[in-house]
Symmetry: T
């Protein structure tokens, strides 16, 4: 069972940028938390972060033989049809994660192109969102296996 964890623009700044909004953990911290949890679940995880829409799309394409996708698209959430098309194109179950509660911020953050092509969304729980995304994908994939 392999899961690809993708982070979009500006998430490399985590822990440094506006910590009162996004939390004090760095992206490295979060990847460490995810890896630890993944080991408990015997899931292989692979990480990718980029500020480039194109690299994110390439990476999604390159991991289409994985079993699931966890994606925090950052600001591209609201603007990238191309990234949404990539996710729809590879036909993997995808969990959209946002660290902050985007519905309590600027109006434009309430619309996501990614949501309609994802399996579900986890919004607003800080880095914990990634961990439960992992749990949810793991549970689903195991269920699928059993069927």
């Amino acid at each position: 069972m392999r899961i690809f964890v993708v982070n979009g623009p500006n998430l490399n700044l985590l822990g440094h940028r506006e910590p009162e909004v996004y939390g004090y953990e760095t992206l490295e911290d979060i990847e460490y938390f995810i890896r630890t949890r993944a080991e408990q679940l015997s899931v292989d995880v692979s990480f990718f972060q980029s500020n480039h829409e194109g690299q994110l799309i390439d990476a999604v394409h390159d991991h289409r033989d994985y079993d699931g996708l966890i994606i925090n698209p950052g600001g591209l959430t609201h603007t990238s049809v191309a990234l949404a098309d990539a996710i729809a194109g590879v036909r993997l179950p995808a969990v959209e994660v946002h660290l902050s509660n985007v519905h309590a911020r600027e109006e434009f953050r309430r619309h996501s192109y990614i949501s309609p092509v994802s399996w579900g969304q986890i919004v607003g729980f800080g880095y914990h969102g990634y961990l439960v995304a992992l749990d949810l994908l793991h549970a689903r994939l195991r269920e699928d296996d059993e069927t």
Copy 2:
């Protein structure tokens, strides 16, 4: 640690109504799954379902000394300012849960009055959403305790 789990209109039909959209588990099944998980976490859970906006508001008020709220407001998500005001009024951390991916359905289901007053949202993972909501609240409350 006490958590109040609230389900809004039509969720009493779960398992019977449009299972291809909402899943095959009944509300009783789901409450059983939640209770089991809560026991593992040593969390007290209390359940309430109603098709009446007013009863839901009353119930939220009556449980304001609880530590957290898990709420699936059903169709009231998109129409009830009063329920959102109730949640804001009791100042409990609230997790909004939706069984189906509301962003892949009718346009009007993409707007929630509840989201801006909740801590976060879990959307689209079927009954699993309640379980991870429990995990997330448990983790937060434990963290708060430690601080």
Copy 3:
């Protein structure tokens, strides 16, 4: 053949409230007309009126083993996703009735959440609307039986 006739908020005021808009018949008069017509068609009719969204939803649920639904949702027409979800949930053929021509009044009365989940709408013919709703459901159910 059993049909459930549901009237929403303020329809208990019929005959008293703004008769120049809603007509001079009381709800009791109208129910009498419907019952008379139903007897001619050998249809069992059951009536319910409430000003409570929740009670209306409960009542729709409770009559899900009926064969059809005639509903005048009153002001909830324009605001209640939850009632619409209830109708969709019980999967009964539903006829939406309005006494006045809602399309010739305030702009907000032109939108109905109920219409997309109903079989059809009868709008603007005063109490006669209920009678033809009965006729239409009766004709359809008889046709369905024959098939």
Copy 4:
């Protein structure tokens, strides 16, 4: 008592065009059903179908000494102010009929220029809609006569 039954663009295709949406009866079938019912009610009915907005307007004008109008404006429902003005101009009670539930289809089909100038609307019951339209006009005209 004379009633004019008008059908707009594409209704000549009935029974042939998209029967899963519009039903399997041809326009001739439907006119036969209406005529039969009209004879029972001792109502004179006159029929007209055209794909030309102008001919429909002319026809409405030409029948202004009739007692009532049943009109299915087809696609002109959503686009023709001129046809609506014609109906308002002749001051006949008009019943707007649609075969399919236009509120469950494309968004643009939910707006009708005809509705505000008609007495009422019957939407979604297939050809039965014409028959109850006839019943309703008949009942109203008889009532008017009695007053």
Copy 5:
């Protein structure tokens, strides 16, 4: 100097239809007034009324060697790009006339496709609008001649 006077849908009903809105003069009365005034100005006028968009477009095309156009497009004002394109296509100076003050009626009557392709508009003065339209075109054409 030849001027073509075009009247659109429902204007044949003038004097009969809603006189409190459109005045008590019939279209024949108005054409008589215009002809009288035209004779005083030594202008040839030609009249056309139709309820058919297509006939109106044909007529505009057929009179493209005239010197000016006076047009009351009736309900097509708000809905006909094709008629506007016809007027733009023949490149005649056109005066748009409305009998009633369309800006004091329904919101949809405030938008005209014809206005941007016309020389100007005269709105709300009853049949007098046609007469001053004639005066204005006459003055302009005489000025153009002099240049």
Copy 6:
């Protein structure tokens, strides 16, 4: 002279819920202030608070023989056509009261279904709003009596 004072959802929390927005007085305090003022004016006042839209509508119906209505509809202000219809239906002069200045908060709080069916609105003066509402209704009713 009898006046009915109605408070909608969440107003039972007054004094407890977000006092920096809604003030430090409880609903009991406010009712005491109103009763005191009413005694000075020799007005009978009756109070009702509910979080249930249906109960509020029922209560408005039940007090239709009163002389006036003071209503703070809480969150239902922005969402309840049914409550507005109830007020219009009983034809009592109604004063809409809001404790906070709703026009300086979220955009959706700027629209009220209640306002068009009320005599007037008093917005933003904390509990004082109820008192002047009483004064205004008293003055009007006395004036009406004199006429």
Copy 7:
């Protein structure tokens, strides 16, 4: 018979400002043309131009015992509710005049607050608009006199 001719902001620049849009005649030229025509009709005309909304409103108030109003509100057309209220308040028949075809320019020029409170509009004929406005008011007032 006395008519008040009011010109709003920037019309003092006529003949100087963007003549390709507004024509080559100065405001003085136009007033001279109007006065000449008025003398022929035995109408008293009074002129006022101001760039101040307040002065225009004052002037409208001060001439409320006149028999009619010709007004080119300039840029205030699109922005001044207060000027529209003044015209409605004095209850004079008002003709709204625009030199250029505002419907063929920026989108915001297509909306006028003045139009709904005026008798009619004359748009796009350069200074000729004022002259026919005078003719129209003269004809109406003479008709009113005769009645």
Copy 8:
């Protein structure tokens, strides 16, 4: 305690203009009522009315050492950012008053630039609105003093 009472465009016409909408009292009558009430409360009141936005802004500036503001901005309510900025700039508690129920009239009257910068609004009670505005400001200022 000094309070400045400001009336905007067209309020000088009160009692004369559309009395069925705005009442039969003149502005002088109303100012007399206010002065009488102010004397009872030992409040100094100063009055100003103008049809000029600029004079209203100047006057608000000139009275910034007053203790409160009562303002009926007339038509500027819906269009003047500058007047709203003036009120915000002087930082006085301001009560916005409207004589008629603006929410039951044209749609554009439902939006106010003044409301977000005022303490509260009193809408629809005729001249009584000014008197309760005075009461409310008096009560607040006395409370502030006590604190």
Copy 9:
């Protein structure tokens, strides 16, 4: 293999009307080009142009046993639901052609009712658009045959 080529309002003016927008070829020229190309492809083509929406609909109906449709609906593109319904009704593969790049002109020209019911669109290449439309239909029909 038979293909029906339909041209809507004002296309009879081609070559005469605004050639800088629509090109210098007349409709006869274009039909000659199409016929020539059709002969090379051994396709039967039939031509129809009308300024009448109704005639266009009739013609589409009358050619429903053809194999394909090439249609330039002119101004009806943006306004005719009825024509779109006709095309959907006959279930022929249709190619929508526009001579000019409608997306670089007025905003309202960017919306087409025809596009969702057509196989595809060719926009902006002058008369060449018809020729490639023919090629495309020919290729598709040949492919369909082979399957």
Copy 10:
């Protein structure tokens, strides 16, 4: 080289009104800074501030023989077509200046009627904006001279 510096409503309050938004310098301070800089550049500057739209328009007209315009229209930015028309009318290069970053405040402050008729905008740099506006106009005028 002469430049006219115009300040609109409420800018006379500078230094006093909301200094955390608009800065601590008074308008006199700012005019002093501008004059000093202008002397360095050998530019004649003339100043005008008014809270009256009309006076601002008059002043713009009166300085039409100047070489350039620096304008901070205050709240009129968002509401005054008339002021924008005045600037377009005098055909001077105009620089629009705002002290605060209007794009980070209320939504309505993001739209300016002045921007499309100005040469450019300088937004958000406090009083420095006026100085660089002066520099920019000076540079442009010198360049124009050289050409």
Copy 11:
């Protein structure tokens, strides 16, 4: 004669991704078809595909000495002003191609930033669209040469 064929995000997945929407040919297949056709026409073609907006812009810049552009911008169609500016900047005749009929899919796919800066669009014919794009550019360029 050299033509640059550009494909945007996700088009590298062609043949693999959602073939029922985009067809069964791979991008390599399509490029082969294009090259074959180009050879027949003696046109040099160069191909480029990228999922990176920036690389697409760079590539467009780098081929500005070509004679024409065929571009399928994929999801960037609806979101990339920058790519549209690049195409406008190089001033090459560009043909916008879409494989599927974007007008029959999600609403957001109906708007293209590329269309206004392209010569024309070919939408919905699968890979055939590229071939006729080539034909059209070839025809135009040959015509241009001849002039």
Copy 12:
């Protein structure tokens, strides 16, 4: 004092692309002008141009220890939440520069995601905008130093 000057998509084409819109200076010319001015002010400047959103974000991140940012985001201004988030994330004072007056062009160019997160904007003065941006940042940074 170090300032980072960033130019977005298509600005590498400056001097070549649409010079009548963007001016005749190349990006190299402009960078030379900026460097010269920076030397006068003793400011270190660093330049970056890219057509890649991702590279621009990376570059902004990499220069977060600089003292200020001058950015012309080109077409990304209107579409890139991610770039705006990057600027907000590094918390540098940023000046947004546009060469042309974007408010006098297409409607979509009037909205900027960058403006709310920048210190201010300079729009429409050609390359001079960069120079005054430098002056403004220099002045602010010197002021900050002094405090």
